[in-house]
Symmetry: C3
Subunit: 377 residues, 3 copies
């Protein structure tokens, strides 16, 4: 169906396949998910009608979760305030992408030297963002997000990007004050670009490919974070980096879903994730000890959706909305990080338990920007 490929935002086809994919990820409620999944194969048949009947029942009762298929929800489950994420054995999308790997959110330690040589490659790779989903990623160093870089105000970063992909790419560090025309220029396959910069301001900064159209390059995965420490370090803490990005995907070709520029322009993502995998920190939480100060470097690379960052059961003692250690506000439940921005969120984990961290803009957050912070005794 050539028309299907082009008319990507057609509500009918897109919404069905979107919900089917959500269902595969466990991001929709069972009753609705199965009803909708049944609609993705084209014309209705008898079996579809039967399932759809169940779906209609759900809709009539506000589409409430149907207990049947997976049994009554356990109200004591630690995941009960999250979305369902009971990933089963996958039979699809095997191959080059390899097994699913969690992205470690732990922030790298402060830099030990005042000068760093960084050499990264722009690479197109198939990347498994969930047990079921492989995307045709454009990346720095083969991952979404790319490596987290950490340095200190005034340090020297000697950076080189080598492009191993047919498409021209570049690197835009938000922590650099530098001429983009030269430093952030695109290079063709096999070429490299090098530049040196010295961050003037502390904070949680984004980096991304800045090649035209930027929306496409950010949206396809060429994103990451650079943490810049102030001259005097912030208070000791357990530190984590959360890079929020959106996924806008086309139908799978040989088990790999391409990124879809038209859907990026439509601004309704299929998934929203912290560190490139929807819901990854539900099944494998972030862990700290009671009494720890916890510091989240939250970078929203977008391309479009803000991150209304919130930790369920906690408030932030401090949010640095500008460069730390100044520019702080206190006693905050939720604050919006703009697309292309970064902020630092701190709390002291005085209470043990299991605390979901979310994008509280739940129309987006429910699509995967939900994780779990476990505070152990």
């Amino acid at each position: 169906m050539p028309d299907e490929n082009i008319d990507l935002l057609s509500a009918r086809s897109t919404r069905r396949s979107f919900l089917t994919r959500l269902s595969a990820l466990g991001l929709v409620i069972p009753g609705v998910g199965s009803a909708l999944a049944s609609c993705s194969r084209g014309e209705p048949n008898e079996s579809d009608s039967a399932r759809r009947g169940a779906g209609q029942g759900a809709i009539a009762a506000n589409q409430q979760p149907q207990a049947g298929a997976r049994g009554v929800r356990n109200p004591d489950s630690r995941l009960d305030t999250l979305h369902h994420a009971e990933h089963g054995t996958t039979t699809s999308a095997t191959g080059a992408a390899g097994p699913f790997q969690r992205f470690d959110a732990t922030a790298p330690p402060p830099a030990k030297t005042r000068t760093q040589q960084i050499h990264w490659r722009a690479q197109a790779v198939p990347l498994r963002i969930s047990p079921e989903i492989v995307v045709a990623a454009w990346t720095f160093e083969g991952n979404i997000p790319g490596p987290t870089l950490r340095c200190r105000v005034g340090d020297t970063i000697e950076f080189t990007l080598t492009n191993e992909h047919e498409v021209p790419h570049s690197m835009d560090f938000h922590a650099a004050q530098i001429d983009p025309k030269t430093a952030f220029r695109s290079v063709l396959k096999g070429q490299s670009v090098s530049y040196t910069f010295s961050p003037r301001y502390a904070g949680a900064f984004a980096y991304h490919c800045g090649s035209s159209p930027v929306l496409m390059h950010i949206g396809s995965g060429m994103i990451g974070a650079i943490i810049v420490d102030p001259p005097a370090p912030l208070a000791p803490a357990k530190e984590f980096v959360l890079v929020q990005n959106e996924f806008y995907l086309g139908d799978a070709v040989n088990g790999v879903q391409p990124f879809d520029y038209t859907k990026m322009l439509g601004t309704l993502p299929d998934y929203v994730a912290f560190n490139g995998r929807p819901g990854q920190y539900q099944t494998e939480p972030i862990r700290v000890k009671r009494g720890d100060r916890v510091r989240f470097y939250v970078v929203d690379v977008g391309p479009t959706v803000p991150c209304a960052f919130h930790v369920v059961g906690e408030q932030f003692d401090t949010v640095y909305i500008g460069s730390p250690p100044g520019n702080a506000i206190h006693g905050v439940q939720t604050f919006n990080v703009a697309a292309g921005g970064g902020m630092i969120f701190e709390l002291v984990a005085n209470v043990a338990g299991e605390f979901p961290f979310v994008n509280h803009g739940f129309g987006h957050g429910q699509k995967g920007a939900i994780g779990l912070l476990v505070v152990e005794e």
Copy 2:
């Protein structure tokens, strides 16, 4: 049409029914509203075509308001800067929901005791959110929003939720520092959950049901505000609570519109409201006296849309973007409250008159997040 029920985001059906409903609420301009309403019944007929002609005329001239049907607008009308809200007698949606009732925006007084016992019920009720519209609400205590709770930093809140609904529910207070796994756990029908918390930070906080999927439970009406006063009270003021929420609705069944999870995921609401009723404070304004300090506790429960809060004809002397009495900025026309966040907006009403307060993100605000502050001599 089973297909219609499932394919809820199909542009054609949804947009038409959406606009028809907007029209019923008086939220669209007359010429366009009637033309669009005529399209909601299926295939066009002669009468439809005639009306549609008028609509096309409006479109050709930028869809400007047609003076005809309701007469020339009165440019001196106090509602002229608002949307039209000339609710007529309704003939639909009678019955269990009872008559339309305005939600009193007045903030409850500061707590008189340092310990409060609160016992609320999770209930599903038909709720009339406008003279014409009844929704199948999931609620705390039968209303959207639920009751406003008010206490002081360090107070003790002994809270119990009893679930009277078939769907598991829970309670997540953003002002509580507590283990969500235990305190915010879901309970089945007939069960209760109790916990005690003591707010550490002052501010305007959200509460909501945190049961999975959270988007569905917030989106269906299980929302409200908890105000936490600082140890030393803020300056005396006329205080109001505005909880912004979005409505995503399906077609009415027996006069009651269910909430629609698929539309929630689509993030384009049918209505946006302060305190659960689109446009309620246009017809029954909030009233203060000239010279009063006016304090708005603005809580945006979303689920998704930020609130760009603004008062027409005024500027905010103070916006507390974090916990009061610190974390204040001054001389502000508009500030975004994130979904799942809350901020406190203050002005001194030195000028008498009629001041619309709005979500200035008007693509959303025009759908009902508009009210009127009357400053009397």
Copy 3:
């Protein structure tokens, strides 16, 4: 097709025509743009299929830019981090609108007198917002945005609006503390409204027509900025005013595209622009000298989309999120200006080069909210 006119958000027709128009503006990548453009004329034909084949190839490889038609991208091009804007000779939309004219972003100088008499007209005009696109604008003084007004805290502005358009209009200055019922009232064609105000707070404020429905009047172009200087002037700087607005357009009638209220309610704009022309400052950049302090007065009139303001290759030394000279944060990469809000962004241009300034919410920014700041030696 009457149905087409009404069913404006039908995904199929709207998305195609949307992308066709984007393509005309040079805002989409060549391979995809041509494939999509070919779909806007109705049923596919052989030529379409051939082009679509190219498009599919692009999609299979993540819709990457096809080098063919316009040659290999020059990675050293100063526009490489921007979107393509190679406007050719236009053959459409000639006539009353006149030639395309850049909107000068230079802020007007500080007011020399403490009292200003301002007399503006509300006018409907065809306005060329790009070499190819003419819109049926509603304006103040014939332009989008209207003139920038500048004054000082405590100054007296004696304002008169005369309406020369069939639709009732009004003026809402966000810098005025005044009764909207009287001052911001609508006037019919041939009538005038006058009022006097004295700004209490410094900052970058929006103004707009406040007539009902406000969404339509803001969305059709009746917008602009008023800069209010603090009593003691801010540090000397090269100053620019950027008013971000969105365009929601219908199909052209006699070469002129009307604004589309239904699409405004849909909140997915066709274009997003600084000062009313998508991408205008790419081809004709804003220019300063190395060492200059650069001050952007960023006003987001919306109607809906926030502006995640960012300068590529720079950080903001100061962002005034409230009234200057207080309410400042420092060391900021990106900050969201709410719809209906304004903030002041400052940087010292210590590095020469070519720095794109953008709405970093790129799903929107890519539609035209991209310009170029050239820092000359």
